[in-house]
């Protein structure tokens, strides 16, 4: 049995199945349908959904709710991410589990409110001060809108980090046919819950029965106890010690910031997701993600039907960048290394190509190999990149 469904509905369903019980958002094209879904559906499962006064309040409310233990979701488009910026930093610093859906539209500024884009890839990575990492996933089918939403909640909860789900107007609003039995249901984990310490444990303040920001080892998220729960807890956006108290002690501040980086980077292997379809003897490697990956796969099918070997790499985790998968794809299925040309296709000016270049050039320098040529297919006129554009680029 098949259903006819858009990405927004699949994301809403994924969120509900992941246990989402709090949503705050502000209307913006093309993200609004998710706000409407959550306003309609969350009360049915005992959750709360609210339209906030602006995007700053949307994400602020989500952060507040998340620290009481709620599984929070918000959704916006590029202009809204601009307003989320400061609080994305707070969510990183305070270690807040939060899922942010970015239904990308064509930028800059108001741009094309009802036209698709993929121009927020670098933006979400560097959207807040300090330069600390986040996670961003990009579904390239409506079925993946469902499964990667579940995955986003899983990572947000387990790592206590804001996780972006990057879609676009077409993926979000267009109807697709999905085989109902084909949905994947990745498990959704929970925050590590508090370890209660007896009163008087050395290092505890008199009111404390746990340390809200104690992480050990350095790459593990701290255990959680909710605001309003039985253990007095402190949340803060300032550089803090394990009590959540403001500190300027360089040893403590340094360790904290090292922790915020390493809880993502040390676990990149577990976080990265790609769909590699590599062919022996392929000289061309196509790389794309999201809606554009669909045209890529169709083009690859056509090229292969025409007798041309071509490899494709669909990137599902934009951040962290799947570095090993990128260099691995150059080597092909049997590591012969026949790729001479890499084509990165995206609806922006080359956001992800920068990462591909960075990874491949560094790999080539390190391995003393000649790097393949890296070219982009880029489109910012509001239209999708077509399979024909891929085929033309493959042949030139």
């Amino acid at each position: 049995m098949r259903e006819f469904i858009d990405g927004a509905t699949a994301i809403a369903r994924g969120a509900l199945d992941a246990g989402c019980d709090f949503f705050a958002g502000y209307p913006i094209s093309p993200a609004t349908p998710l706000l409407l879904h959550m306003i309609r559906e969350l009360p049915k499962v005992g959750g709360v959904a609210v339209q906030a006064e602006d995007e700053i309040a949307s994400i602020s409310m989500c952060i507040g709710a998340a620290m009481t233990g709620a599984r929070a979701l918000t959704a916006t488009s590029g202009p809204g991410i601009s307003l989320y910026s400061e609080n994305i930093g707070l969510a990183i610093m305070g270690e807040v589990p939060l899922v942010i859906v970015d239904a990308q539209r064509l930028g800059p500024a108001t741009g094309g409110a009802t036209t698709p884009g993929q121009g927020d890839v670098q933006f979400v990575r560097w959207s807040t001060s300090g330069g600390f990492p986040i996670i961003a996933l990009a579904p390239s089918s409506v079925a993946e809108c469902y499964s990667l939403t579940r995955r986003a909640f899983d990572l947000a909860e387990r790592l206590r980090i804001p996780v972006f789900l990057m879609t676009d107007k077409e993926m979000f609003l267009s109807m697709s046919t999905v085989e109902v039995g084909s949905y994947e249901h990745p498990p959704v984990g929970d925050r590590i819950r508090v370890e209660v310490l007896p009163h008087g444990t050395p290092g505890l303040r008199p009111e404390e029965t746990f340390l809200p920001y104690r992480f050990d080892p350095i790459d593990a998220p701290p255990a959680f106890s909710p605001v309003g729960g039985p253990h007095i807890t402190r949340f803060t956006g300032s550089s803090h010690d394990e009590h959540g108290m403001l500190t300027k002690d360089p040893a403590k501040v340094g360790r904290l910031n090292e922790h915020l980086r390493r809880k993502i980077e040390d676990h990149a292997d577990e976080l990265v997701m790609v769909n590699a379809d590599l062919q022996e003897d392929a000289r061309t490697l196509l790389i794309s993600y999201g809606i554009t990956a669909r045209a890529m796969c169709e083009a690859a099918n056509i090229a292969r039907d025409g007798g041309q070997a071509v490899s494709t790499l669909t990137v599902q985790s934009l951040w962290p960048v799947p570095e090993d998968a990128l260099t691995g794809a150059l080597c092909g299925p049997s590591c012969q290394g026949t790729i001479e040309r890499v084509i990165v296709a995206e609806l922006n000016l080359g956001d992800f190509r920068r990462e591909v270049e960075r990874v491949i050039y560094r790999w080539a320098a390190h391995a003393r190999r000649i790097a393949p040529e890296i070219v982009g297919i880029n489109r910012v006129d509001g239209e999708l990149i077509t399979p024909g554009q891929f085929l033309e680029t493959i042949l030139t």
């Binding site: 906030a52 952060i63 507040g64 309003g228 007095i232 402190r234």
Partner: protein, 449 residues
């Protein structure tokens, strides 16, 4: 209801740490009164959260043995709103300064309007103490600050009047020196409404030396500005966090099914289609183009096919064009865009204007279905002009999209027209269903030439 504390009330809600404030600063006075208020209320400290943001007063949460949430400048009310919405029985106290009041103005207004149950203590010392004594939204006229060297010429914000006129449940103005401040804070918390206390105080680092300001100046300034003191407003309105949950709970009662489950379409019909077929409807907003396309897509699935639908419309949804691209295929559809339609249905002039690129792409193998007004269009495609008048159809424009698309599908025989009827019946119930089925039936009488 605030839950009574079952344990003996603590003898203090302060922890062992000393305040970090300048000598003579009002912040410590207010925090002591706040502690006294908590003792009067006797709340379970694990059911109290102090939400602060940036400014010297924002350090205040670190000196209490309750939960604490220290966020970004001016956003404390928004974090507190999220906390209260998620846990409506929690006592949520916001401590903010006159700086945060200014930058977080939108949150202040909306929290008052909603009457969300927060107690907001505004530590109002007329300037930014933490960053070097710059002016704030409450700096009095003539006030000398680092950024108003010749004296402030901006009118100060009447915080109390602003929230009162917008529906706050409890509003009070006074000073850090008021002996009854602890009682007032306790009363504000008990009001279980959006309660705001505008507490005037001294910044001995900046505002006091820059303006020869003193405790006496507080009252003189207030009088000069014509701002009253005391309880200025009380209003009994439903508290937002509970009201919202109540209203939504009422609405969703009886919702037994798990929400947003798949609406699966069995393959009740059959199609002989062996390749992708691209079908585009170009019409006007309000002409049911998108809903028609959705029904047709569902009909394709009911016929064992895969379908995709991609719509285009201007930001103003009730005017201008509305086009839907449909793809039917015996296989899963990867690329969902349509550059060359196999069939194009022109429903209106709005649609024709947007259909230029489709028209250009048509070939002798393509189909073009039009109303008589477009009979003269030059095209290499097989053109079919539907003469609705001749068929005796005088329907409203809003059904033209369904009518023409259905007539086109009858001609194309991509899948049985009965599948469309089934999709209509499965899509909705009531008058719309009847109307759509009627239009579908009418389409049988449409002859093309």
């Amino acid at each position: 209801m605030i839950q009574p504390n079952t344990l003996p009330a603590p003898s203090t809600y302060r922890n062992e740490r000393n305040y970090p404030f300048c000598p003579g600063c009002g912040h410590g006075l207010i925090l002591n009164q706040f502690n006294a208020a908590l003792m009067k209320l006797g709340l379970d400290p694990t059911r109290v959260v102090i939400v602060t943001d940036i400014g010297c007063q924002g350090l205040g949460d670190q000196y209490f043995a309750t939960h604490a949430f220290h966020g970004l400048h001016g956003r404390s009310i928004a974090y507190a709103t999220g906390i209260k919405l998620a846990d409506p029985d929690l006592t949520v106290i916001v401590i903010m300064g006159d700086g945060g009041t200014g930058i977080g103005g939108a949150h202040l207004l909306n929290a008052a309007r909603r009457n969300i149950g927060l107690t907001v203590l505004v530590f109002n010392n007329f300037n930014f103490g933490m960053t070097g004594g710059e002016h704030s939204v409450t700096t009095p006229p003539g006030g000398v600050t680092a950024t108003t060297r010749a004296g402030n010429v901006e009118r100060p914000l009447d915080v109390c009047a602003t929230v009162a006129v917008n529906g706050a449940g409890y509003v009070w103005r006074g000073t850090a020196f008021d002996r009854d401040l602890a009682d007032i804070i306790a009363e504000a918390v008990r009001s279980e409404s959006f309660a705001l206390l505008d507490i005037w105080e001294l910044c001995t680092a900046y505002y006091v030396p820059n303006n020869e300001f003193s405790r006496k100046s507080l009252e003189a300034t207030r009088t000069a500005l014509g701002m009253a003191a005391g309880v200025l407003h009380r209003e009994d309105r439903p508290e937002y966090a509970r009201a919202l949950r109540g209203a939504e709970g009422q609405r969703s009662r009886g919702a037994e099914e798990k929400p947003l489950r798949p609406r699966a379409f069995p393959a009740l019909f059959a199609s002989t289609l062996d390749h992708e077929f691209r079908f585009v409807i170009a019409g006007s907003a309000g002409g049911k183009v998108r809903s028609t396309a959705k029904m047709i897509g569902e009909a394709a699935i009911l016929s064992g096919l895969w379908a995709a639908q991609q719509d285009d419309y201007p930001v103003t949804v009730q005017t201008g064009h509305s086009t839907s691209e449909l793809i039917f295929s015996p296989r899963e559809i990867l690329f969902t865009g349509v550059t060359r339609p196999d069939a194009l249905v022109l429903v209106s002039e709005d649609g024709r204007r947007m259909a230029g690129r489709y028209l250009k792409a048509l070939t002798p193998e393509s189909w073009l279905f039009v109303t008589p007004e477009f009979a003269g269009l030059e095209t290499p495609a097989r053109k079919v002009v539907f003469d609705l008048d001749a068929a005796g159809i005088k329907g409203s424009k809003k059904n033209l999209g369904l009518l023409m698309a259905a007539a086109a599908l009858r001609r194309l025989e991509v899948f049985p027209i009965e599948a469309v009827a089934e999709a209509i019946r499965r899509g909705s119930r009531g008058p719309v269903t009847e109307e759509n089925l009627e239009v579908l039936a009418m389409s049988a009488a449409v002859n093309g030439s």
